[in-house]
Symmetry: C2
Subunit: 199 residues, 2 copies
DNA sequence: GTCTATACTTAGATAGAC
DNA sequence: GTCTATCTAAGTATAGAC
């Protein structure tokens, strides 16, 4: 969780902001609301963050750092691709955050998904944290598996679009009335991967 | 297009609003910007719409009316399902708006996708215009096809999730750097439908 | 580091002339 | 129906005491 120390003021502000942003959207949330929810005076927020925009920026930075830590090792996966069943390798390529940070990180993703294309910071965030990881891990894995003759040739680009679009929706709609349960997320991924036929 | 008459003031306001909302998001756009873009005085907008929120509401109403006109006839499709190749019937179930209105309608969808879960009006809009049509047409079609023994049994619920999530992303990311070209939309759908194996 | 009070700006909306 | 001028509220941010 942000700042490690659970009760830190900066951490409380970030958690309140993420919660409120994800629920109502960045623009609807006021500094006064963030203050109220984090039980701190509105003026004091400016002791920790120069601006409201900077709170969002800090949330993105935190998420990116966590993602970086959670990313699977591509080289290890490429080696596994030579011996292990293709579907197992692909499911291992999915990264998971620890349950404790999960809700908080989800909220950041929801917020970013909404600001996409209105705010270049958010657009870059989505690119680097949803689109790029899939491109950079699943794509080379599939290419390698085809090369090794371990799976049947397939339209990799289209599969990636479906996969990434699914992930984007899952992120954007998480905790909304249209959101999936976490278990369903896993089984949906398996369904998409079932396009990939082992030799 | 709104109000049919292309040059109508009300129509100009709606088109400007949809364009700006889709680009920057509802909250970032000011009445003054809408006025400037539609080449009308800001105060005059209030002659046509009681409030900014009402402009959005009117956009949603317009979209829903157009969708209703474009929806395919389920009963006709169910009859086709008895005789025609399953994939062809499914592709026919996709509705298309005329090219003229397309961009405008896309912008409304983008706007709504962003406001989802922050604004109940927008949430209902997405439910009725993205989720419901798929549920109400593709689902009974697939069920009927299985019943008729024309396709192999499959996990219909999961397929619908993938399909609807794809459609949501395609709508939300349209005209963004992550958006697909219209041709790709068709081929992606075919890819998803290729999960469905004819008998 | 935290507070009270307040400055400054923006944006939705209205009044009322033409 | 369209305009100019203006009101009002809300929201970001700062000053400065403690």
């Amino acid at each position: 969780m942000p700042e490690k120390r659970y009760g830190s003021t900066r951490g409380k502000i970030l958690r309140a902001a993420a919660k409120l942003f994800s629920k109502s959207g960045y623009h609807r949330v006021t500094m006064r609301e963030i203050a109220q929810d984090s039980e701190i005076n509105a003026a004091s927020i400016y002791h920790y963050f120069p601006s409201k925009a900077d709170i969002l920026k800090s949330l993105y930075a935190f998420y990116s750092a966590e993602l970086h830590k959670a990313l699977p090792d591509l080289h290890a996966l490429l080696r596994l691709a030579e011996t292990d069943p293709p579907h197992e390798v692909l499911m291992k390529a999915e990264f998971h955050f620890d349950q404790e940070a999960r809700d908080f990180l989800d909220q950041i993703l929801i917020t970013a998904a909404r600001e996409i294309s209105a705010d270049s910071e958010s657009e870059r965030f989505i690119r680097e944290n949803i689109f790029a990881p899939t491109e950079n891990i699943i794509k080379p894995l599939l290419q390698r598996m085809v090369e090794l003759g371990r799976i049947q040739p397939l339209d990799i680009e289209t599969l990636l679009t479906i996969l990434v679009y699914y992930c984007f929706s899952a992120a954007a709609l998480n905790h909304s009335p249209f959101g999936n349960k976490p278990e369903k997320y896993q089984s949906d991924l398996s369904f998409i991967f079932s396009f990939i036929k082992p030799m």
